[in-house]
Symmetry: C2
Subunit: 143 residues, 2 copies
Amino acid sequence: MNEALKEAKKSYKNGDVPVGAIIVKNNKIIAKAHNEKEKKRNAIKHAEIIAIEKACKKLKSWHLEECELYVTLEPCLMCAGALLQSRIKTLIYATENEKFGYVKSIESILNNGKNNHKIKIISGIGREESQYLLKEFFKEKRN
Amino acid sequence: MNEALKEAKKSYKNGDVPVGAIIVKNNKIIAKAHNEKEKKRNAIKHAEIIAIEKACKKLKSWHLEECELYVTLEPCLMCAGALLQSRIKTLIYATENEKFGYVKSIESILNNGKNNHKIKIISGIGREESQYLLKEFFKEKRN
């Protein structure tokens, strides 16, 4: 999660909401990404999406069954769907997203028994660090 | 929708589930795309996602508030989320996706009152043509 937090700081510097993600396979990092929605002026460029695209490219496959995705913020609806599409094995997120999180906060969309893939979910690792980054970012933005 | 169906046929030829999407602004097509998940070996490359990325690039903005997305198949969870992220005004889809559709079939995720954006939804235009393409594709695949 430290590597994901480092990625999140890159988004911060670019004026994007600080969110970072990494993908791990066999204890090795195979993809790193950070939120670039504002920088790239592109609605799709969330950290998780970019990380999944990089991992697919690296593995030359859209199947990420043996991979874990670490992200500093609870995924939104789009990114929760992308985790299903890529068949990620495990999702580890740092802190909840009360407004847009579709893993637990708004709805537990991944565990509703209606999808063709099941993802193991772990949360809370790096929560304080991620919350601090997000709070500082929005405080600066308001000023 | 005819243009979206033409796009779907391109996926068919590539061995990808035939789904096509176009984005329209002020009665002009600004993006065309087709499903390239298998071709690109990339879990993210659904027609809707590629179309949204192209439209953002064209408009130099992630805001697609004045745009309509036409797609030949009901969007999945990821693509429904992408429509919210890009603030698309209207979604027009041809036929339902009983297994993976998150606009109506599995769950009406866009109309649950829990999102920060509301999308107008129209369905059924080009339904027969889209169903025919999908049926032929899966029939060929089984043989």
